[in-house]
């Protein structure tokens, strides 16, 4: 019974675990949720955002997203829920299959990205992603 977790994600998780031991600024950048927990989502740039949001269901929000791109260092961002009126710009509709890397690029350009999934019916769940 294999986990199906990619080697890239395991490698990224290993680097996160190392940083928790060695890097105070990294530890300080991990968001603490209202329950006092420090959930971390580890992803690679090629992972679909849909997969990240599925894992969010088990961690809740806010959550720290740690993304590894190739041999580059880990990019750390915070994912929060937002109300439609709580962000200055328009919420970007995204295809659930869009990659995490695309979001990180948007955050590099805009500092903060508000988005919702195109497939959401009823009232769209909106999220905000920004560097930690």
């Amino acid at each position: 019974m294999a986990s199906g977790i990619s080697q890239d994600r395991l490698q990224a998780a290993r680097e996160v675990v190392t940083l928790l031991r060695t890097d105070r600024s990294f530890r300080d950048s991990i968001v603490v949720n209202p329950c006092g927990e420090r959930p971390i989502l580890v992803a690679t740039v090629d992972d679909p955002m849909e997969d990240v949001l599925r894992r969010v269901e088990s961690t809740g929000l806010p959550v720290t997203l740690c993304v590894r791109a190739g041999s580059a260092s880990i990019t750390v961002a915070t994912l929060r829920p937002v109300e439609p009126d709580d962000h200055p710009g328009d919420s970007t509709p995204i295809d659930p299959r869009a990659s995490v890397g695309m979001f990180i690029s948007l955050v590099w350009m805009n500092r903060t990205v508000a988005f919702h999934l195109e497939t959401c019916n009823a009232r769209a769940a909106e999220y905000e992603l920004e560097f930690a």
Partner: protein, 140 residues
């Protein structure tokens, strides 16, 4: 635990994180950055049924004083330890679990004086052996 380490832990009232089945929820003021001697717990789900849990106590000079590094799988509605590395019983040691069996197979890794080495060994054993650890948990 060496006598010196044990005395240090008692005198400084460091929380004991190792070997305990669960740690109490962190306090609401847990976002005050590194506070020496305070247990910090991080949970990282890697898939729908797999996660790694890190509990760590960092000292004044930024060195780990105590840790637990745990690979877990979701088994039904509960998260179960597959393999756990921690610092209880005066040493860094490994506990391996099997589905349906009480207790763990224990193995000493190193002394507390080499706690950072123990953490690195735990990292390697968990992430290099993720699938094998999992297989051994379910299939023996």
């Amino acid at each position: 635990m060496t006598k010196a380490k044990g005395r240090h832990r008692r005198e400084s009232q460091l929380p004991e994180i190792s070997g305990a089945p669960e740690v109490a929820e962190a306090s609401p003021d847990a976002d005050e950055g590194d506070e020496p001697g305070k247990v910090e717990e991080y949970k990282a789900p890697l898939g729908e049924s797999d996660r790694v849990v890190v509990r760590i106590v960092i000292g004044m000079r930024g060195q780990p004083l105590d840790f637990a590094l745990i690979q877990q799988v979701r088994d039904g509605e509960r998260w179960r330890d597959v393999v756990r590395y921690d610092c209880s019983h005066g040493e860094v040691h490994e506990d391996r679990y099997m589905k349906g069996q009480k207790g763990a197979t224990k193995k000493e890794i190193c002394g507390l004086a080499e706690i950072e080495d123990g953490y690195k060994i735990a990292e390697d054993a968990i992430f290099d052996g993720w699938e094998e650890n999992r297989r051994r948990y379910f299939d023996g």
